[in-house]
Symmetry: C2
Subunit: 878 residues, 2 copies
């Protein structure tokens, strides 16, 4: 087979010389090269394995069998460690521990506050000081700590995870530093007793865990480096985050899907379920072992009656809760965004706050904790209850008021907090809802790790309770059915309200499931589902979800969803939104072009085309690769090399005849690997024999059109003896070592001259990693399809090609603009300028649109002479 | 703007004449044409609207305002009707009604059987006859009715829905006939009391409803014709089907997602929830209105204690249930497939059964009902209970046996059936499980509309109960915790078992949610989740799911999933699996080529390439379009036309001078619209000015290479005066009318000659609908990516292109083979022949592989001279 290969190469070499196939070859070579790089990893592992076996053969002594056994065991263990379920179990276990420890610390912090407050009951002022100082210190510490260690840990983390799962790499969001900052910051923030949640940050923490665990595990096996696998694991981690936070595996999985994904691969479903269930299980088992609970039960267990959970005639009340929650949720999102925007816009405030970054958190905390001070205003809004205690009392299955008289109820334990000698329960509830509403919206803007789910959940429960208590007061003997009296259960209303409001704020339906898992009862399933769906319908038509709102505020690179009724977008096409002025590099461009392209644009990848005339897309190259190429060309080693060679040539010219010079040149040539020259090296590149060459006549045409100062044309190259070859030597390792010998005696002007010379050389794409299959669309692809493909495959950009020719590029930015233009403004649809032409109804519309395109692209190419619009230079070349 | 358009056209016309751009133009024209066709619908609606407004202007009399108002109201209503939620509500409402009516009828049928059996208690033989005859008659009727009306209604319907949602069109599966057959057949089948389920068929029925409702609604508005919207609605309908069957909206949505989708668009999530919730709500409200229930509760309500649902130490038992259920589920699927395959393979049986199609159902029913006859063997397996009654008793929260003595328990109502004077409860349960297991596997092979979910669910519950009762007997005072005695609840084990076994058979996790919704209690969430996940893990590693198994048996065109550990598939590429021998048609092919291509292949679409030499992919054309083209060319109208013209020409030649002949020809030419000829008509085709033409030199080359008998070359065409033009006239409507005037006096031989002549003409792709953007892959695309793209976008096939050139095609079949080859056989991976070359580790492997490709394609082209392998003819043309 090796002999065959050599023959084949020889044959190809001949063909290359005969037909001058060089340009064709390079496109193919680029692909092969990329494939080779990709596969080199595999090969390495294979060779390692064979080496191991060799070692075994070699050591065939007495204990050979023993060793073989050991090695096999080791291998087996390593291969097992590589399996997904081990990873998921470890992740679940670790997250359950983290969740439990965080909960434990928060409980201690809250107890400490209560203890301080209780111990100072002799003096109200001291009490107030203690009540206020404690959270201010904690929040300030949390904000400062996060700010110093990792500012990425601030906030919920769900918007960031949504973006990362979309395929965008956010730097520093998945590091160990962020992990530490998030965990400690969150514990302090929640320990302060502010209306903040733990669920959003836990999604982030779980993802951090997964990323770190992935890195750790890759020390044992090699398969943890696969990117698509990492994304799958991150998706599972999000489920774990919610699951171990609420001990709600099913709800966690669904919530994380709804919140983070656009398209969900059902084959990853089990990962989330598995890890979240395991995590929730361990989380609850820890509580049992700590003697907090007798057995594994729900976190906020309710005890509603099972046989008659609610009457059919109560359903309108549930529906009202749903609709009101929808408006409330939209208001919450709007309010939250308003606060952020207000602070940003007021330059005076902004400037002041930027200087004293910790002042804002301290001020907000001071305000909130002053208002909840139990002997003060707090007495009217159950201020002394922690978030957890409020929720437990709100979900209580007893009715607080009978026949409108609140006093009749025998308040036990924490429920007493809702009772006030002068004020009705209804007033307390209303005050609680109103105050907590703006407090939560304000508190979630503090730059500490915090979520908004739990506060919203509690407010929703309070609202539901309010409606429930009203119903109970209205129908003291329950709504009449056939004889039996079933009194109304206000706790059930609280459950419905909690699910509806949190569903409205997050735009999810799965809060219903979370509620069932949190309360351990599913008897109210229909009211909850109805309310959640109504709340979603209302909220989604008014405002984006809280997470999308944060994405917009933070300007994260996320693609918005297509709207509910997205039928109108079927007639916007890629050609309407694509950028026609694509930055590209040609195969035979010189380093100067590279330099210019790198200076002007800032795209992460650049298109590699065959030539400016043909515009045939060969692949895409990462910016970093090109920068490396450029710096290699202009770097000091090469310059020193040049000096050395110049000196040597000088010397030779002085002393010897020109014959030896020729020989030297020949020697250099054989070391070179360049495509434009048909040397033996070049022909070694594996070619694709079946690829036909009908494009050759077009390709062979020298593309001098775009570069008038193009000295090294391919004809000159092929002669192989031009002066230029002196500069083309690739920097070898041995040459590098000789650097010390040469003196850098060039003046600045000489250096500049030398650099100019270097820039005029043709680029050598040899050692450059080229992606041979960048994603391509055709110009007629609809916006809907483009959006689907982008979100499904997590694309960042896609090239638009027409019969192999690059005619444009669409990136997330354009797509986002197009979608937002036609989605957000309801009714008045902002459409791309050209889409409207197609609707005008006459058959000439197509022509007009394309005519406009032509004019537009002509204008573009006129204003930007460096970017050759293909139609232009094409016409010239004919 | 119109003037501009005309100028533009004139300009283009000139350009066309100057540069001879015709071939380039056609590719563009094809795209424009397709776009125009697509948009004609829109235009029509616009013109209708304007006509309506005109009418209003015209009628400006006294009641004009009134009319405007009416029209506006009508429009508003119609636009509302078009909205998704109206559709979903209607669907939910209708399905709830269907579900309720079916349930009602089934209940009546079952009652009738009991009544008959009870009334004849004097004579055991008569009892037996009644017990056996009733189901045999019902099942036979069901099988016969379904067979006659719509054989597509047979079976579960979930495999078919899975395939349809995958994007494959299955004929006759969504028609009204099928709907009627399915509903009536299902009612009879379940009314017989056989161990069959209603859930699978309900998924199908809901989809049928959605499809029919879509058709009905499209009478009012136009947007119901969108295909992608239909798919979305079908997905929602599947959720409705499960939701209204079990009154389980959440579980229904999740189950339908898991069972039918590969990738799920989260934006469709709400549709399913909305429709399923509404449907479940109506379904349960109907029960309340019918006084069956006091209020809306779960279907199989349980009453387990809430405060201490289970002990931590019971978890191993739950895990055991999970693992055993996993094995049981795999066995069920295997057994079911075995029965089908056995019957198929035994030719004698098969032949006999094919003749008497109703005999098999009757025999199976006879066997099953004989064994369940209560006074006979049925007394040992609670044979007199219906499926529903068994489930209710199995989920009972009381313990049947205490301290191993079953007699102590006070059996009430139906639970008495489990008690037998001589036999222990354990024996009864074991017999029930074993007998029902094979009975269900057998019964689901009967050709009636039926599902397997419910029987499996009941068997699982029985198995769980068995374990639970054993545990209760083992620990009569419960497992010791801190003092308090909590006895073991066997009902909880039954819930766990039901979820685990049904999860194992269907490979879903969401059975857990269905169980919670069915029982109305979520207290056992952790045991259920653990058992379901374990059962899934075991079952998925042993057997495909029941639905996938049926898909394989029925050989439906479905793409299998990538396995759990699908890392090894990253190094199989499209080029390894693609079919290189693509059937294509070229732009300038003649009708004979078309004819041959249509005869040899049977693909639904054919690739249209620029020419056999360049192989540049221009688009794809549906087979039907090509057939229409061919039949138009060879049809009788054209032949009569030819005769008429021949006669006319004859006459003219006889009588007049040749001058008039010329004129006539000219007139004909102007009517023609052909691309190959640069007439005025051709230049009117809207062109894409920005598309560059570097490919032209390649394209201009006349492609005579492949067709030596190619008479009408483009040069001849351009002269515009050849004899051939006589035959090229497109059949106009007025010409058609004249058909009657001409006598068809051609002999058969003349006709054959004429047809031969027609076949040699170039194809006119003018009125042909061309898809300008068929999906393309590059040869380096990995199998994983290909699978993802295929399943995400629901592709049927994709073309593999290399720089615009068509080099292969991948269809579902190849992909299925590749995946099955490397997935199903665990450990011993069957790889495509060429993939192994890449792993060999030497750098020459690439060359070898491509070399092999070359050899292979050369061989192909040698054996099939009509299919020009591009590499071959390319080399010739140089």
């Amino acid at each position: 087979m090796a002999a065959d290969g050599t023959d084949q190469r020889a044959l190809q070499y001949e063909q290359t010389l005969m037909y001058g196939r060089y340009t064709q070859e390079l496109g193919v070579y680029a692909k092969e090269e990329a494939a080779r790089l990709r596969e080199s990893g595999q090969r390495r592992s294979v060779s390692e394995r064979s080496r191991n076996l060799d070692l075994l053969e070699y050591n065939k002594g007495r204990c050979a069998k023993c060793r073989i056994c050991t090695v096999r065991c080791q291998k087996f263990l390593i291969s097992r460690v590589g399996e997904d379920w081990i990873f998921l179990i470890l992740l679940g276990l670790f997250m359950a521990l983290v969740s439990w420890v965080v909960d434990f610390c928060i409980a201690i912090c809250l107890q400490a506050q209560k203890w301080m407050y209780g111990g100072l009951d002799s003096n109200v002022f001291l009490q107030y000081l203690a009540w206020v100082t404690y959270p201010v210190v904690l929040i300030t510490f949390s904000a400062g700590f996060t700010q110093i260690l990792a500012p990425q840990a601030v906030g919920s983390g769900i918007p960031e995870m949504k973006t990362i799962l979309r395929g965008v790499v956010l730097k520093e969001y998945l590091t160990f530093k962020t992990f530490v900052a998030k965990v400690i910051g969150l514990t302090c923030a929640l320990g302060s007793g502010m209306p903040l949640g733990k669920e959003g940050p836990f999604v982030h923490i779980a993802s951090l865990c997964a990323a770190l665990l992935s890195k750790f595990m890759s020390l044992f096996g090699g398969i943890y480096e696969n990117e698509s696998r990492n994304i799958e694991m991150l998706a599972a981690a999000c489920a774990v985050g919610v699951g171990c936070c609420f001990a709600a595996p099913i709800g966690g999985v669904l919530f994380s899907i709804e919140v983070t994904s656009t398209f969900f691969a059902v084959r990853n479903y089990w990962r989330g379920f598995f890890a979240a269930t395991f995590s929730a299980f361990i989380f609850r088992v820890l509580a049992v072992w700590n003697k907090d609970e007798e057995t594994i039960t729900a976190l906020f267990k309710t005890r509603f009656r099972l046989d008659f959970p609610f009457d059919l005639q109560e359903l309108p009340a549930f529906a009202v809760i749903g609709i009101a929650s929808g408006f409330g949720g939209a208001l919450f999102v709007y309010f939250n965004r308003l606060i952020v925007q207000f602070i940003r816009k007021q330059k005076a405030i902004n400037k002041f706050l930027m200087k004293k970054r910790l002042l804002y958190p301290a001020l907000v905390t001071l305000l909130v904790s002053t208002l909840t001070f139990p002997p003060g205003f707090g007495q009217f809004m159950a201020g002394k209850l922690t978030q957890k205690e409020s929720l437990v009392t709100l979900l209580d299955n007893r009715t607080w008021c009978k026949e409108g008289i609140a006093e009749e109820f025998d308040y036990i334990g924490n429920s007493q907090a809702w009772q006030h000698p002068q004020v009705n329960v209804f007033v307390t509830l209303v005050l609680f809802i109103v105050m907590k509403f703006w407090m939560s919206a304000l508190a979630t803007t503090i730059p500490v790790p915090c979520g908004a789910f739990m506060p919203v959940f509690v407010i929703g429960a309070a609202f539901g309770r309010l409606v429930g208590e009203s119903m109970a007061a209205w129908f003291p003997d329950g709504i009449n059915t056939d004889g039996t009296i079933y009194p109304i259960v206000p706790g059930g209303y609280a459950v419905v309200g909690a699910a509806a409001l949190s569903g409205a704020v997050t735009h999810t339906v799965s809060t219903a499931v979370i509620v069932f898992e949190l309360t351990g009862q599913i008897s109210h399933i229909l009211p909850v589902m109805i309310a959640v769906i109504l709340a979603n319908a209302v909220a989604q038509s008014l405002q984006p979800s809280l997470y999308d709102s944060i994405i917009r505020i933070k300007k994260l690179p996320y693609l918005p969803e297509l709207g509910w009724g997205h039928h109108e977008k079927y007639n916007i096409r890629v050609e309407d939104i694509m950028v026609r002025d694509v930055r590209y590099i040609t195969l035979n461009c010189c380093y100067r072009d590279l330099h210019n392209v790198l200076l002007t644009g800032h795209l992460k990848t650049l298109a590699l085309v065959e030539s400016a005339a043909s515009m045939i897309l060969l692949g895409s190259i990462e910016r970093a690769q090109l920068q490396a190429l450029l710096s290699l060309q202009l770097g000091r080693p090469r310059r020193l090399e040049f000096i050395r060679e110049r000196d040597a040539a000088e010397k030779k010219r002085m002393s010897v005849v020109s014959n030896s010079d020729c020989e030297y040149d020949h020697q250099r040539t054989s070391q070179e690997v360049r495509f434009q020259i048909s040397t033996e090296e070049s022909s070694f590149s594996p070619t694709r024999p079946i690829s036909p060459k009908p494009l050759k006549p077009a390709l062979k045409r020298p593309s001098v059109v775009e570069r008038p100062i193009d000295i090294p044309t391919s004809l000159q190259d092929q002669s192989g003896n031009s002066l230029k070859n002196l500069f083309c030597a690739s920097p070898d390792a041995e040459m590098m070592e000789e650097d010390g010998d040469v003196e850098d005696d060039m003046t600045l002007r000489e250096i500049a001259e030398w650099e100019e010379m270097q820039l005029d050389e043709q680029v050598n794409f040899n050692n450059c990693k080229i992606d041979p299959a960048p994603f391509q669309l055709v110009e007629r692809t609809s916006l809907h399809k483009t959006h689907t493909i982008f979100s499904l495959l997590g694309l960042d950009h896609a090239y638009v090609t027409s019969i192999g020719r690059l005619i444009g590029v669409v990136s997330l930015k354009e797509l986002r603009k197009a979608i937002e233009g036609s989605v957000t403004v309801k009714g008045v649809k902002v459409r791309p300028p050209l889409a409207s032409f197609r609707d005008s109804g006459t058959s000439s519309s197509e022509t007009d649109a394309t005519e406009l395109h032509k004019l537009w692209s002509r204008q573009k190419s006129a204003s930007l002479p460096r970017e050759h619009a293909p139609s232009e230079c094409d016409e010239k070349s004919q």
